[in-house]
């Protein structure tokens, strides 16, 4: 049980969370940017997540400006 929880914690910690993705997308992830980008360079999973976040942030910006 303890091992499973450790493994789970490691898995959760291995990817940036949604908040970090959004901050990076908006150019606001400062102190953690190095670690984030190094992870991004080899993690296709997070490349897809960032692409989605970028699309969302851009769409919200344009929509909010247009309304």
């Amino acid at each position: 049980m303890h091992i499973d929880m450790v493994a789970m914690a490691q898995e959760l910690n291995s990817h940036p969370d949604e908040g970090e993705l959004e901050k990076y997308s908006m150019g606001d992830l400062r102190e953690e940017e190095d670690r984030f980008e190094e992870h991004l360079l080899h993690c296709e999973h997070c490349q897809r997540r960032l692409a989605e976040t970028d699309a969302y942030v851009a769409a919200m910006r344009r929509a909010a400006a247009a309304i």
């Binding site: 190094e38 991004l40 360079l41 993690c43 997540r49 989605e52 970028d54 919200m60 309304i67």
Partner: protein, 209 residues
């Protein structure tokens, strides 16, 4: 770039812990599998990074040039800590991005001096991406239009005006949880609508090229 149609991937499997030391050693010894491994990483991760920073122009050439640079510098022994391969790659990529931007600025100055009005380069997305962007904007407008004025104001202040979350919460008397909920509900709705819209389509992200 793909739009927000992918399933929620936050809980997806973590990537395997890559053995950078092994990969670096294979590159150093000119083992073809090492170069293949490096290229497969750069062709995806670096491609996406460059596309995001510089746009689609000459992307394949830039990725290839970076591959050659990284490969050669590793073989020259310039990477002292193999476990830090991604940090090393990132440094080289960022240097390349800075050089490209500097070159573009210089080129622009020269061209403007020679012939005012000549565009620097075309960084606009291709027609298919433009269409996706328009559709995404329509979705976002539907979502914003369906919200209460106050929630719409929160999202506008955050995404458009880029006001800090703390400031928005303070001035609009919101808790951090309420703020996060407004954002996460809107994003979930966007993802859901996008998934419905693009379900039959193939992915268009540069990540998958």
């Amino acid at each position: 770039m793909n739009s927000a149609v992918e399933p929620d991937v936050q809980t997806g499997p973590a990537p395997p812990d890559p053995s950078w030391c092994d990969l670096v050693e294979r590159i150093r010894t000119a083992d073809p599998s090492g170069m293949e491994g490096l290229y497969s990483i750069l062709a995806k991760g670096v491609r996406y990074y460059l596309w995001r920073q510089l746009g689609p122009q000459d992307l394949d050439d830039k990725v290839h040039d970076l591959f050659l640079t990284v490969n050669q510098s590793i073989r020259n022994g310039e990477l002292r800590e193999p476990a830090r391969l991604m940090g090393y790659v990132r440094t080289i990529v960022r240097r390349q991005v800075a050089a490209d931007i500097h070159g573009a600025v210089q080129s622009r100055r020269t061209r403007v001096a020679l012939d005012s009005g000549v565009p620097l380069s075309d960084h606009r997305p291709d027609p298919e991406h433009q269409m996706i962007e328009r559709q995404n904007q329509d979705l976002a407008m539907r979502i914003l239009g369906s919200l209460h004025k106050r929630d719409r104001q929160v999202l506008t202040r955050f995404y458009l005006r880029e006001e800090p979350a703390e400031q928005i919460c303070r001035e609009m008397d919101l808790t951090e949880t309420q703020f996060r909920l407004i954002k996460s509900r809107a994003k979930a709705r966007f993802t859901e609508l996008g998934r419905r819209r693009l379900a039959p389509r193939a992915g268009l992200s540069p990540v998958t090229h």
